[in-house]
Structure formats: structure tokens, C-alpha cells
Symmetry: C2
Subunit: 340 residues, 2 copies
């Protein structure tokens, strides 16, 4: 497939482990974030730490809290507030994952059985609410109304984006712009907030806060575009979710939209049968992937992701070169080449 | 049944319309709260105002925002902040109702089809998240960290209580104390927060804020005890939810717990079959209600509710007598006699 070639070429230029390097730079603080997370999800109601712990300890990349930590460093922050704020960001992310899995009825998350598969949808909805409330409690303790504003606005935009995605489901006439707006809302907004919080905690001037917010936003769009491509191009064992999940759920992601638009009349019937009518039978996913290959759809999605990441990296030019800046740039670029 | 007699006696003493009188006292402000609610639930994603509007306009009593408004008056508040804060309280309440109906798989809410029955569980989860986030955005605009603290803590306690209730489901060995703690968490905490916010916005000293918080907490427990009793003693048309819902869901509420504890060995098998094993067949609800009648369970639950309400009303003694104080006392007392 086109992607494989593309990807191999990239891996000579970029480090394979750019995300690991990112994590390494804030290793000790990430341990502190994890302690805060575990500490703050405790409850006399045993099901809460059990369920939340399952998801939180199941090997997520902690990309969003890492962004908060690293952005605060990039801004020269020396305090400790970024630890609990990074935990907040992860709590909000975890709450949305729990609710997402209920909405999508997913059985796998990060390669393990999802929380709703193990404990039921009811518990996932309620524990999600609990984590979300806890995130706000932690922010209130921190005491910055500006940060509360950033993260409550982000949460509203995320939920709005999820509802929009639900409303677009099965609709092959969704506009490409609509599709990108959903991605921006449901993924990029939290990336953006995570980065901006790092600047705000370091009391940076507006243009710096805005630059990091824009970096996060564009990085987030690129990240999600790749995620949507991977649903048609990854292997289940490495991506840790079920390949073809989006397909089976009738999600109109950019790969589907482009493939549908480029398909001839005969080929379109596959998309109409599966995505529109929700009638997915054996072999349909293979056919869908073949059409994406024929029309170089995943390649184009990946290229679009690269454009967003390039825009993201440009925002970091307000900072002088250094370890943190380079690590952020490498990580963002690496994400556009990842196959997992 | 015992309750009917009890109730008729009470209605001579208390106004039938104590809740209406409460609403009347803040009529104009309640109109402003409704405008704020409608205004703030707007979104370009049509499903959000559609679904939220269905629930919000379906004739809820607005008891919680009314408490915020009236408590602020009781404290002599003259400003306008209480309007948007009352809307916040209603948003949080509506979000929990949306999620509750998903968790309980309810088909009726306030006498109409529930949102999840009309738009599906997925939309209900996500729109609940949206309203919850919006509530926090409104609080951030208001700018009081103290109020953010009260309502984020309340939200966490509510979610924790809901998880606990889920964990207790089908368990007839739940302790009575556990059962009361669930009620306190899932209902009374928001009553308490709604009242306390009224005092905080009026910049009252700690003992006044605490008195109103305690009034709300005890009122809320009383209110929920009656709600749980009504599930076995109301008529579907008047209570606006399906009679026997709790029974079919295997919810271990205080009426069930008391009836089970007082039942003889033979009678206990009914509770074990229905509540524990979830095997509810025709005639079971009638038998359950008959047992509650035999053991005067609903009468006792109603008396317990009266005790909580008496404690609540005692807290209002810090205020001088007047229209607002009397209306709050009447409304709280009225709730223990309501049959809807």
C-alpha cells in the first residue's frame, strides 16, 4: 500500500521514538502526574478507582498531559502547579474516552477490553461524570479562572463536536469542512487547551499563549487525521483498537468522504450499503481499504495531516531553539508517520 | 392505604400549592432564568437545543433554581448574578437527568417520552456532557471560585452517589445507612448547593451559608425519600414517570429495604426473585405494594422524610420571619405530603 512506502521513507528522517523522547524530557514530572491521577481518582465507592484505573493504567501515551508539562517548560515555568493541571487534562480526556466508548459501543480500547465491555455502559457514563467533576475540582483548587475558562470551554466544544459527529453518522454528503470541524472540536481543542495551559501557568503574554494554543490545535487536527487513516490502515495488535471500528459504526471520517467522492457509480454502492445503510458484511472492509488504496486516499489524508503539523510547528518559531522546542516539533512530525 | 389518610390530614394544614407559591415569589426572575437557559443551550449543532429543549421545556418544577433565587432573596441579595447561577444549577440537574435516564434505561421522564427514548442513549450522554460543560462556563463567567468549588464538589458527589447506587443495585443486604448516603449524594447535595449559592452570591457570613446549605441538604433527603415512596404509591399520570420503575430496575431504595427487612421468610422470596434476581413478572409489583402496605413501610418512609424536613426548617431560624422564609418552610413541608 501507498502508506507503507511513504512511512518508511519518513522514518529515516525522523526519530522512531519522538513521542518517547517527549515523555523522557518530563519523566519525573510524569510520575508525579500519575501519582496525582491515582490519588485523585480514589473514592470509597470501589467501582470508581477500579474502572478509572483500568483505563488510566492501560498504557495510554499521556500525550495531552505531556504537552502541558513540556509547554510550561518551554515557557520557563519553575513551579509545581503544572502537575495537577496536567492531571486535570488527562481526567477530561479519560472522561471523554469513557463516554466515547459507550457512544461507539466499542469493545476494545488501547488493546484491552474497554471499560464499558467489562463493567457496562452505566458505570462508564457515571465514572466519566465523576472524573470530569474531579477535573473541575482540581482546577478550582489551583485557583486560576483563566485556566478554568480554557478547560470548560474546551469541554463544551468537545461535547458539541461529538454530538455533531453523531449527527453526521451515515451521511456521505457531509461536507469535507464539516468533517474537519468535527476533528478540530473533538480532538484538537483538548490538545490546544493542554498546550495553552502550559503557557498560562507560566504567566506568559497573550501572543505566547496564543502561539501554543495554535500549535496544539493544528497538531491535534493532524493527529486525529492520522488516527482516522489508521482505522483503515493499521493492524489491530499495534493500534490497540479494533481495525475498521469507524467503518462498522458508519462514521463519516475524511478517508471515507474522500474515497466516496472519488469512487465511480458502481463503487459508490459499497459506501452507500455500508456507511449509509449500516449493512457491513464480510469482505466489505477489505473492499473499502482497496478503494482507498486505488484512489490514494490515505496518502492524501496523511499529507493533509502533514500540512497541519507544519502549520503547528511554525507557531513554535516565537520560541528560541532548544531541547523542548525540538522535541515538540519532532513529536508532532512523528505523529504524521506513525502506523499505530 | 395508610399514606392517603396521612396525606389528607396534612393537606388541611399546608397549602396544596406551596411549590407554586415558591415559584410565584420569584416569577419574573424565573422567566429570566428560562431565557438564560434557552439562550445558553443554543448551538449550531441542532440536536443539542432540540434534545436539551425537550427536557428543559417539559414542565419540570425548576425547584433547584427556584431555591437559588429564593435563598438569595432571603439573604437580601439585590443583584442579578443569581439568575445565571440558577441556570447553572438547572443545567447540572438536567445533565444528571439525561445520564440517569441512560443508566436506568427509562422511557418516561416528567410524563413525556424521555430524551434517550426519542434520540437514543448516545445523544443523551453527549448532550448531558455539553450542558455540564456549559454550566461550568457560566460559572467561570460569573467569576466566583467559591461557587465553582460548591458546584464542582456537588457534581463529583452526585456522580459518586450514582455509581454507589449502581453498585448497590439488586443487593437486599444494603445497609439502611448506605441507602441514605446514596440519597444524600445523588439528590440532597444539589439541593444544598443550590441554596448555599444563594447565600454566597449575597456575600453572607459563614454561619448563614452553612445554615442554607444544611437546609437544602435535609430538604433534599426528605424530597428524595418521598420520591422513592411515590414509586410504589403514585399513579403514573400524576407523577410523570413509570410507577414501579425502581422496582423493575432492581433499585434498592428505602421502601424496598424496610419491606424486605420486615417480611417473613415466605414473603422475602418475592423480594429475592424480583430485586435480587431481576425476575419481575406480572402481579409482582402489586404484591410488593401490598407488602409495603402490610408493614406500613411507606408511612414510615414519609415520617422519616418529615423528620429531615423538620431539621431543614430548623436551620432557617437564623433568619427573621418573613415571606421568603415562610415560603421555603411551607414548600419543604408540602413536599413530604405530595403524592406526585
Amino acid at each position: 500500500m501507498a502508506i507503507a512506502t511513504h512511512q518508511n521513507k519518513e522514518q529515516h528522517v525522523l526519530s522512531k521514538n519522538a513521542l518517547d523522547i517527549l515523555q523522557d524530557l518530563v519523566k519525573d514530572e510524569l510520575v508525579a502526574v500519575n501519582h496525582t491521577i491515582i490519588d485523585r481518582m480514589q473514592s470509597p465507592v470501589g467501582l470508581i478507582p477500579q474502572l478509572a484505573g483500568h483505563l488510566i493504567s492501560s498504557g495510554g501515551k499521556r500525550l495531552r498531559p505531556v504537552l502541558t508539562l513540556l509547554c510550561s517548560h518551554l515557557c520557563g515555568y519553575q513551579g509545581t502547579r503544572h502537575i495537577s493541571l496536567a492531571a486535570c487534562v488527562e481526567f477530561i480526556h479519560t472522561a471523554t474516552l469513557l463516554h466515547d466508548d459507550v457512544v461507539d459501543d466499542s469493545s476494545l480500547r488501547r488493546g484491552s477490553e474497554s471499560a464499558n465491555a467489562l463493567w457496562g455502559n452505566q458505570a462508564s457514563v457515571l465514572v466519566g461524570d465523576y472524573l470530569f467533576s474531579k477535573a473541575f475540582q482540581i482546577m478550582v483548587e489551583d485557583g486560576s479562572l483563566r485556566i478554568l475558562d480554557i478547560l470548560s470551554s474546551a469541554s463544551a466544544i468537545i461535547a458539541e463536536g461529538e454530538v455533531r459527529q453523531l449527527a453526521n453518522a451515515n451521511n456521505l454528503n457531509t461536507a469535507e469542512e464539516d468533517c474537519l470541524e468535527v476533528i478540530t472540536a473533538k480532538t484538537a481543542t483538548l490538545f490546544s487547551a493542554a498546550c495553552e495551559v502550559g503557557a498560562v501557568v507560566a504567566e506568559q503574554p497573550t501572543h505566547i499563549c496564543r502561539a501554543l494554543a495554535k500549535f496544539g490545535l493544528n497538531f491535534g487536527v493532524g493527529f486525529q487525521l492520522i488516527d482516522d487513516a489508521i482505522d483503515y490502515g493499521g493492524a489491530q495488535a499495534t493500534i490497540g483498537k479494533t481495525v475498521g471500528d469507524d467503518f462498522r459504526e458508519g462514521k463519516v471520517t475524511l478517508p471515507v468522504l474522500l474515497a466516496y467522492q472519488r469512487s465511480n457509480k458502481e463503487e459508490r454502492s459499497l459506501w452507500e450499503k455500508t456507511i449509509e445503510q449500516g449493512n457491513v458484511t464480510e469482505g466489505d472492509l477489505t473492499c473499502a481499504i482497496r478503494l482507498m488504496d486505488k484512489y490514494k486516499v490515505l496518502q492524501d489524508v496523511r499529507n493533509k495531516a502533514k500540512e497541519y503539523v507544519a502549520t503547528a510547528c511554525k507557531e513554535l518559531e516565537v520560541f528560541t531553539e532548544g531541547q523542548e522546542r525540538n522535541a515538540l516539533i519532532d513529536a508532532a512530525r512523528f505523529c504524521t508517520t506513525r502506523a499505530f
